[in-house]
């Protein structure tokens, strides 16, 4: 039985495709976007997350840790991430879930079982399952297996992807995926590299191939002020999307809600000074795309 690493299963998900959905968040991502709001998703293996505000300094974690990576200092637990071997015993005993393991190995059956639980809601609302991450296609065989069972059961399937994977992965999963939520961050390769740590060549090429094959695609563009929201760039992006015959775009305004997640896994937030885009700016950008005959939605 195929297994994968899942870090969250979100029920009543309303912004990752049509209707009421269940979103499966898979761990691991080849990109390292500066604004990433799921930083715990980037590494493939599991993380220990620590929420300071929940800690009641009971010291149970200290007792449980096999390598003495946790110390109690001034009424809070300090996790030495250099020493930590991510055994997870601390999280098991933590009474308030201040310490939590992010990333759980699950079988295809286990994930399918969770998806099936909300079948009645998918039927009523025209919803289904969405694979997200991380980059779900880093575990494309796992996604394929799950989505195949879903399709057999008549459950609508969507995938939220960065597109930064080999074409074979996309080509395989598209047999069992109804809708691609395809992220495009920047048309310029150098800028893309600065923003995400990788080149955009494969991403753009894969999207062109999906469009050529007439797959159902919604292009999702995160709007990061000062990085990709220049008028020229958005106009070029709109023209390019329209030229491929794609009709739907979602503009996702940058938000800072993921900031405290960085602290929880011991990382530093890269762009604390970037402002969240204002509503009227978003409306202005929306118009740019509409001029190309594209249907635009702000938010997912």
């Amino acid at each position: 039985m195929k297994k994968g690493i899942v870090f969250n299963i979100q029920k009543y998900s309303l912004h990752d495709g049509p209707g009421i959905r269940t979103t499966i968040f898979l761990k691991g991502c080849p990109l390292k976007c500066l604004w990433c709001h799921n930083p715990e998703s980037i590494r493939v293996d599991r993380e220990i997350s620590y929420s300071k505000n929940l800690c009641i300094s009971c010291g149970e974690c200290m007792k449980a840790c096999p390598v003495d990576a946790v110390k109690l200092h001034r009424e809070e637990s300090i996790l030495d991430r250099e020493v930590c071997i991510k055994a997870g015993e601390c999280a098991e005993v933590c009474p308030t879930n201040a310490l939590e393991i992010v990333g759980k190995e699950m079988t295809v059956d286990e994930v399918v079982k969770e998806i099936e639980k909300d079948k009645v809601f998918y039927q009523e609302s025209g919803g289904g399952v969405t694979f997200s991450g991380g980059e779900p296609l880093m575990q494309w065989e796992f996604v394929y297996e799950i989505a195949k069972v879903c399709k057999e059961q008549g459950i609508h399937t969507a995938i939220d992807t960065s597109g930064h994977v080999k074409w074979e992965a996309i080509d395989q999963v598209r047999k069992v995926i109804d809708l691609f939520l395809y992220d495009v961050k920047h048309l310029d390769t150098d800028r893309h590299m600065e923003m995400t740590g990788v080149s955009n060549l494969r991403i753009l090429e894969n999207l062109e191939r999906l469009a050529y094959l007439k797959e159902k695609v919604y292009v999702r563009i995160p709007i990061i002020p000062g990085m990709n929201d220049e008028e020229d760039h958005l106009r070029a992006l709109g023209k390019w999307i329209a030229s491929m015959g794609l009709k739907e775009v979602m503009l996702l305004p940058y938000h800072k809600t993921g900031m405290d997640k960085y602290e929880r896994i011991g990382w530093k937030y890269q762009i604390p000074d970037v402002p969240e885009p204002r509503d009227e700016e978003m409306q202005r950008m929306k118009k740019k795309f509409q001029e190309e005959g594209i249907t635009v939605k702000i938010g997912g």
């Binding site: 309303l14 009641i56 009474p95 308030t96 609302s125």
Partner: protein, 793 residues
Amino acid sequence: MKKELRGMNARVKKLRAQSETTTPKISIERARLVTEAYKQHQGKVSIPVLRARTFKHMMENKTICINEDELVVGERGEGPQQAPNYPELCCHTLEDMDIMDKREKISFAVTEKVLEVQKKEIIPYWQGKSIRDLIFNEMTEEWMECYAAGIFTEFMEQRAPGHTVGDDKIFKKGFLEIKEEIKGELDGLDFMSDPEAYEKQEELKAMDLSADGIMIFAERHGKKAMELSRKEVDPKRKKELERIADIAFHVPKYAPRTFHEALQAYWFVHLGVITELNTWDAFSPGRLDQHLEPFYTKEIEAGTLTREEAKELLQCFWIKFNNQPAPPKVGITLQESGTYTDFANINVGGLKVDGSDGVNEASYLLLEVIDEMRLLQPSTNIQVSKKTPNGFIKKAGEIIRKGWGQPSIFNTDAVIGELLRQGKTIEDARCGGNSGCVETGAFGKESYILTGYFNLTKILEITLHNGVDPRTEKMIGLKTGSPKDFNDFDQLMEAFKTQLNYFIDIKIRGNHLIEKLYANYMPAPFLSTVIDDCIKKAKDYNAGGARYNTNYIQGVGIGTITDSLSAIKYHVFDQKKYSMDKLLDVLNKNFENQEPMRQFLLNKTPRYGNDDDYADSIMTQVFNSFYEAVNGRPTMRGGTYRINMLPTTCHVYFGSVIGATAEGRRGGLPLSEGISPVQGSDRNGPTAVIKSASKMDHLKTGGTLLNQKFTPQMMESDESLDHLTYLIRSYFKLDGHHIQFNVVDAKTLRKAQEKPEEHRDLIVRVAGYSDYFNNLNKSLQDEIIARTEQKMI
């Protein structure tokens, strides 16, 4: 198309303001009239006739009130917001009256004059003779102990059975016709061979007298309106008063002919029912949109009524409900139902008797009225069947998202399923619906009495103490063994079931007695005239005259007991993290110095409300045990016992008598409400709550109550109303009975708690009804704040 005027007009605004700003007070008039009638007739006539003469005496002599500018007339007291007392049911002591006057919440002003009458006329006659006195005299010691321990409450100890709803006959028949029917039965009595012929005769005579009573009451309104119109200088109002007089001379003597007459006819009957006795859940008009639709359509087509006029009349009608606070309660009854709301509940939508969609023009008009009036009373609900158009649900959603808790939403298909399971005909089932909070009934044909709340979690506490109530250290249960000796979870469940059955026996035995007391001493001949088949059977409503008779016991705290059992099963028996000894010791000490353990139990227990079978299967075990203990037992009126799952405000009282529980709840705090999960324990969103709740077999109940709290942001967009509709449809596909949404954020509620004076208008959903946040006591306010806010991720 002409743009419809929105909002209340000046008249309605004025009447609404009067209703909202008048301080509730006690009216002693009814108590005086009852006492006069009893002094005159008691011992000289049969008891049904005594009750009917008493009713007629009240109808002939009570003050007639016609408020300035109103179009629908009649009050229960001498004016708006005046509540009478019912000394034959519960004779308030002077101390009771003083508490009523001074208590911080749900108070009633008591004037010196009222106090004087109570002291000199009422108490001397009724002390020791009220139904309440009889009940407490007759109850066994074990019943009294259980009652004091908070195992159960008793609905009928100071209010009468009622729990019924009118049907279309009030809109189709006059009381002259009803009198004819009574006469027919009287004429047909067989004194030669029917051993009950005398009792039947007395009951029919009583019904006939009370029919006279209601017609006299209406006529007196007619005369009063004439008198006022003669003095009136404003020609417009003069005309209105003349019209009111015409109507009051016509209905309810004859069947109503117009929309206005239909409303007034119902209102007279409503006042009759709630004046005759202090019935639980007042009385309700049932499927109001369907009853009104023929009048509405006919008059709109004939051009004798405009939509705006119909709306104004409905709004005046709404205010009449709001003018009647539930009569004052004391003691445990106040704790289980701490509200001014008298639970009249109006059904909109649903199905017609032939099974087709019942939504009509009047349904949409009623929704508009609900939206604009924003009143606590009457409660309102929409009935949703698979045939109900989505547009209708969305229209209701637009009101729901405003956050004041109305209308609530019922699954008509499930309601019909419940009624059919209980043996009703398909026609009677389709004409039924819901009243009170969530109770299912065959309107106009069923007496479906709630007899008391039942504290499921308390039974577990007593089981864990081998029959002893740890609060009082009294042995009130059975010795089912020390839990330390239980080898597995099943043994615990077996012991729980044994205790449960034992306490249900005590409750039902007490109920039997109370039923007899009401049947023998407190018949309701007026109510009996409007509920089938009391006339045909020549039998009183309180003696089993209705076509269907059902008694309910209402289970409270299923979320709390489930999580508590889940914690014991998981941590003691499965994971063996704690011994039973250790756990019980910590619970007995209310988690003192054991915060990490409390947190561990809170956060690491499989909890109900997360679509997790581990916990949910325990919920179904508890539910089934309760069902098996109660369902199918006979009542003393020839009916059957059933279960309901609702709390009103009783989850707060029941929590106050229970110590710490194994899922981390501290002693004394409220229990979970309805079938909702424990406040804050549902962490997987609304679909998971719905899935968990639907694992209960709702069709085996006569009502369940599920409250969901949403933040206002979740309901902002048009799309969110679609999502709301999908959630409702899904829950109902899974046979869920009822769902309601509280759309207000915790921040607003906290602010309102700090500065009540700035939030006087804040209305929230409590449990099956709405109330002003300011009217709730602190622990209930806290409990509502703690209910999970389903946030968007």
